[in-house]
Symmetry: C2
Subunit: 430 residues, 2 copies
């Protein structure tokens, strides 16, 4: 049973504040182990990768090869269900056309003083994409990470994925191929992150690493940050559904459970202005759990982190929605656009009664890599912007330098930086 | 004496690769001390701030107040040189008008399938700005951090600055006021970062913290990351000057020294196609050092990290420039635009012989907070984008859901996520 919070209760603010602080993850301290793995990969290269992979993944890369070959990919296509391959292509096309719109434009202009100012965007030259192995090896996540990099113009998109007992989900290889990944290596864990950051004989180093992973992968990403760029560290997923009584309780229950089935640490929250509707949804959740293959996971998530928040009016929930700052927000209400226009914090918003969040997971076209754990207050979902960088440019002639010099020299002097002042003055015989 | 590398030498690649790996900073391990400070500020709030400030800054906040008052700011204006105030306003205007162009535009469109997709940008609600005390308390940096936040539409811009012995550089307060900072507190160090992240009785928490600081501040920012957003961790500054023999060696020497005077860990690099010109610049550096107030710092930086790289042609330096990926690149050559168009990695590029990098430090209009230590390979300078976040939106009607459902359901099935499939199917009576 999820908890229930009533905005009208005297202790609501206190309970809601405590609810916001709920930790859903225990972070394992694996820093020392990861440090040792990274040091060994830097020192020994491929040999360390082969040894760690035998030990952790029970896979012999001397036989399998570190690199996944074109033949391996062809075989993956053969092994995959054609309808699923088609669905992946459909998703890729929709993701690509949406992300094309995110490409930033260069800006070059001359201001009133005659100074030329520019912002020039270029793709990161090489990017690493981590893909988890086993049950969390999602082909949809391969698309969501690789397609924006491809759209950005990244030349080398290098995927690493562990092959426990030698096996990689064929759909992951197909998704990588469909998305335009340029190289694939069957390594995982902290050793794969080290290889991407520092390079080995077989794997050339990249400039940035993205993609989700376990505690070792997350710790390794933090440790190599600076040498390479990294994306955000993803926490467990969450959905906040704002729903009035005009919804079918079964639809809303299905949405809450779609989130809950991900992980026992996932979180599903319902905000409603109708207590009876809230009860009906809770009953529907219990009913649907009966026939769900991942019922154990979903039930644990709903029991430990699920919540039903009763508000006097949908309108009154606005500040709560912004404070929760959820990864996914569904607005199953009348005029969801009016509500959205007053919202501030969310990774992605799904508008109306026919936009279940799941559409965004796969085929909506927008990205499903989104800020979790309230970080939508200060960060955004993955986009083309994560695979480009901006260089600013400045050009003055003698006249412009003369116009700007007095202020620059005054500020250099005020900051006690005489060589700064001289670098300007010397060009003007000042 | 700086080192000299010749691209024509047989061992160049080896020496250049080693040069790129040179560490210019020893990172102090202050994690445990910082952890204790943060824990105490979370537990005790203002009382901890007052106590730490007495201990570390020798300032009694019971007398001075934690908050800087309007009267304090008025007094700072009185204490500041009017010409410097005017230069700060001039710089603010130029920075503001350049950064106005960086504001991202919302995008809302309906695709061929009738799906409505949107990208909606909103300002981060509250941002903290750390300003170091003492000699590194630069008013220009206050402008460079606060103006983009103001342009982005951040409502609360909260500045913290330590007041050693009760004293704050009046120009820092004036710059904050001119830039539109909304609140100023006289606290610094890890305790200030903790206050910004978690809040105290006096200081309301923010959602993101930017600005440079010492090892304690950097460690504190890393530790609170996740609870709040942070900017990049700035390393020591660097300049790469690409110059042919048509330059006045004294101008180029002045530019190298402007960088070197910042810090003994700063780095100045000259790339030239004319060995005699390189020698002339080195001699000019030695000569100019004689009359430089910060000669000791500049000489140490030039001796320990300075470099002159001789290339057969300017053209041949392109791959080296991209591998160095410098924070600042000056192109004191003919047709710098042609060179720029083939470059990939740099924080900011200064074009032609009349654009010394120092102009960008103060009054060019572009931002001087730029990626250091080769991170221009994967990241960009500070901009309005650092103070906004994007929410993606999606809206389907029944018809669109019917069109997208088969692919979504196929992918959910392939990933073993039955509740995902159900959340779509239940709306279509499938």
């Amino acid at each position: 049973m999820a908890i229930t919070l009533r905005q009208s209760d005297a202790d609501f603010e206190q309970r809601f504040a405590a609810f916001l602080l709920t930790k859903r993850e225990v972070s394992e301290d694996v820093d020392a182990a990861v440090r040792a793995i990274i040091a060994r990969v830097r020192a020994e290269g491929d040999a360390a990768l082969i040894d760690y992979t035998l030990k952790f993944d029970k896979a012999d890369l001397n036989k399998l090869g570190i690199a996944v070959s074109r033949d391996d990919i062809a075989k993956a296509y053969d092994d995959a269900d054609p309808a699923t391959i088609e669905a992946l292509s459909f998703a890729r096309d929709r993701i690509r056309s949406h992300h094309e719109r995110q490409k930033p434009k260069d800006d070059l202009y001359t201001d009133a003083a005659g100074v030329e100012l520019g912002s020039r965007w270029t793709a990161i030259e090489a990017v690493g994409l981590y893909v988890p192995g086993g049950t969390a090896s999602y082909p949809s996540s391969v698309l969501m990470n690789a397609v924006p990099a491809k759209v950005a113009g990244v030349e080398r998109i290098v995927m690493v994925v562990p092959a426990p007992h030698g096996i990689i989900n064929p759909l992951v290889l197909v998704a990588a191929d469909i998305a335009g990944v340029s190289e694939i290596y069957r390594v995982g864990g902290a050793q794969a992150i080290a290889a991407l950051a520092y390079g080995t004989e077989t794997i050339g180093p990249v400039a940035k690493i993205v993609g989700p992973g376990n505690a070792y992968v997350a710790a390794a990403k933090r440790q190599v940050f600076g040498t390479v760029g990294i994306d955000m560290i993803a926490g467990p997923s969450e959905v906040l559904v704002v729903a009035d009584a005009s919804n079918d309780p079964d639809w809303i229950a299905a949405d809450l459970l779609a989130q809950a089935e991900h992980d026992v640490s996932a979180q599903s929250i319902l905000i409603t202005d109708d207590p009876a509707f809230g009860k009906a949804v809770e009953q529907a959740v219990e009913r649907q759990l009966q026939s769900l293959p991942r019922a154990e996971t979903a039930a644990a998530s709903w029991r430990d982190f699920g919540a039903v928040i009763q508000v006097p009016t949908i309108e009154a929930s606005l500040p709560l929605v912004d404070r929760i700052a959820a990864e996914h927000v569904e607005l199953a209400i009348d005029d969801p656009e009016a509500f959205l226009s007053r919202m501030c914090n969310a990774g992605a918003v799904f508008l109306g009664r026919h936009t279940p969040e799941v559409i965004g997971d796969y085929v909506g076209g927008s990205n499903h890599v989104l800020p979790t754990a309230r970080s939508a207050r200060f960060s955004s979902g993955l986009s083309v912007l994560d695979f480009v960088k901006r260089t600013s440019t400045l050009k003055l002639g003698p006249e412009q330098l003369r116009a700007l010099a007095p202020a620059a020299i005054a500020l250099a002097k005020a900051e006690g930086l005489d060589a700064h002042g001289r670098s300007v003055a010397i060009r003007l015989n000042m």
